[in-house]
Symmetry: C2
C-alpha cells in the first residue's frame, strides 16, 4: 500500500481544514497515512521570521482569516477564531508524539477542534488533559510528553521536515520525496503517492 506523510503544525490554520478530510480521502485512494506533527516556529526563525507570516504581513493575515472562515462555512466546519495567534503548540505536539501511532490521529483532530472550533488555548494543560480524558488515554502522558526522549524526537521530526524542504503546513510528502504544500494540494499528493 502506498504511503503519504501528512506533516502538520497545531498552530496552523490551514491544517485545521485538512484534518477534516485527510483520512477519508486517503482511505478512498488506498493510501496509508502517517500523521507527523512538527513545529513551524524553528523553520520560520531560520528564515528570519520571528512570528507567523500572517502577523508579519497584515494584508496576508487579514486574507487568511477571511479565506479560512469562507472555507469552513462552505465545508460545514465549526470555526471560532482563537484569541491569540499563533498559539504555542509545543506541548500539544510533544503529546501527539507521546500518545503513540494508533491514538495520534484522533488526538490531533481533537486538539485542532479545541483550538479552531471552540477557540480554546492548546498550551493550557487542562485543555490537553481534557482531550486525553475524552479519548480514554492515560493522564500521565502529559508528564511523559515533557521527557527528554519526546522533546528530542520532536526536535528531530522538525529537523527532518526542514530537510525535506517544508516551509509551511499542512504539507504532504510521498515515499519518493515529492513535496506538496497546502490543503489545496491534498488530492495531488494522494494521486502522486499511488502512481505506479
Amino acid at each position: 500500500m502506498p504511503r503519504l506523510d501528512f506533516w502538520y503544525e497545531f498552530a496552523s490554520t490551514y491544517s485545521y481544514l485538512t484534518i477534516h478530510r485527510v483520512e477519508t480521502l486517503a482511505q478512498a485512494a488506498g493510501v496509508e497515512l502517517r500523521w507527523r506533527p512538527f513545529l513551524l516556529g524553528p523553520i520560520f526563525t531560520a528564515q528570519g521570521w520571528m512570528n507567523s507570516p500572517f502577523n508579519i504581513f497584515p494584508a496576508k493575515g487579514r486574507y487568511m482569516w477571511r479565506d479560512l472562515e469562507r472555507n469552513c462555512a462552505a465545508r460545514g466546519h465549526p470555526f471560532t477564531r482563537p484569541a491569540g495567534f499563533p498559539q504555542n503548540s509545543v506541548k500539544a505536539a510533544r503529546l501527539a508524539l507521546a500518545v503513540g501511532d494508533a491514538a495520534r490521529p484522533d488526538f490531533s483532530r481533537e486538539v485542532f477542534l479545541a483550538e479552531f472550533a471552540r477557540g480554546q488555548v492548546i498550551s493550557d494543560e487542562s485543555v490537553l488533559a481534557g482531550i486525553l480524558r475524552d479519548l480514554d488515554l492515560p493522564a500521565d502522558l502529559l508528564e511523559q510528553a515533557q521527557s527528554d526522549p519526546i522533546r528530542e524526537r520532536l526536535r528531530e521530526e522538525t529537523e527532518t521536515a526542514r530537510k525535506l524542504g517544508l516551509f509551511g503546513a499542512p504539507s504532504f510528502v510521498t515515499e519518493d520525496g515529492e513535496l506538496f504544500w497546502g490543503d489545496d494540494r491534498l488530492e495531488q499528493a494522494l494521486d502522486w503517492a499511488r502512481r505506479p
Copy 2:
C-alpha cells in the same frame, strides 16, 4: 451580468496557470471578466520585501517552481523556466493598459506565453513588438505605453490593488469587494461573483 476583476502581474508564475482557464470558466459561469494588470513590486516593497518572496525564501522558491512544473504538466501547458526571476514587468503592464480593453486579454496571454512557455524576456522591446505584430496591433503603442497618462494609470491601478488588500497574484475581486487569492481560488471567486 455579474462581474469579476482578475488582477494579474506579468512576473507572476501562478498567474500563468490562470490565463489558460480564466476566460473559459468565467464564460461558463456567466461572469464578466475585467483583466486588470498591476505591479506587485511596490506592494512587496511596502511590506519590506526587496525581491520576490520566492527568492527571499529559498525553500518556498524551490517548491513553487516544482509545483508550477507539475501543474503545467498535468494541465498540458508548455513551460520553460525563464532565465531571470522575477522579470521586470513594468513595460508589459503599461502596454497591456495602452492596448485597450478589447485587446488586453489576448495581449496579456501572449506576454505570459512568451515568458513562461518560451522563456523569453518580457522587458525586451523586441519581444513586446513581436506580440503587437502577431496580434495586428499598431507598433506605436510601444511608445504610447511610455506616456505620462499610461504610467500614471498603472500607478493608480497598483494603488487600487493595494487598497483592496491584494498581496499576491493572481487575485480576484468581486463587485462587493470579496478578495480571492491564487489560481486555486478561481472557482470560489466565480461562485461568489454570481451569488444572488
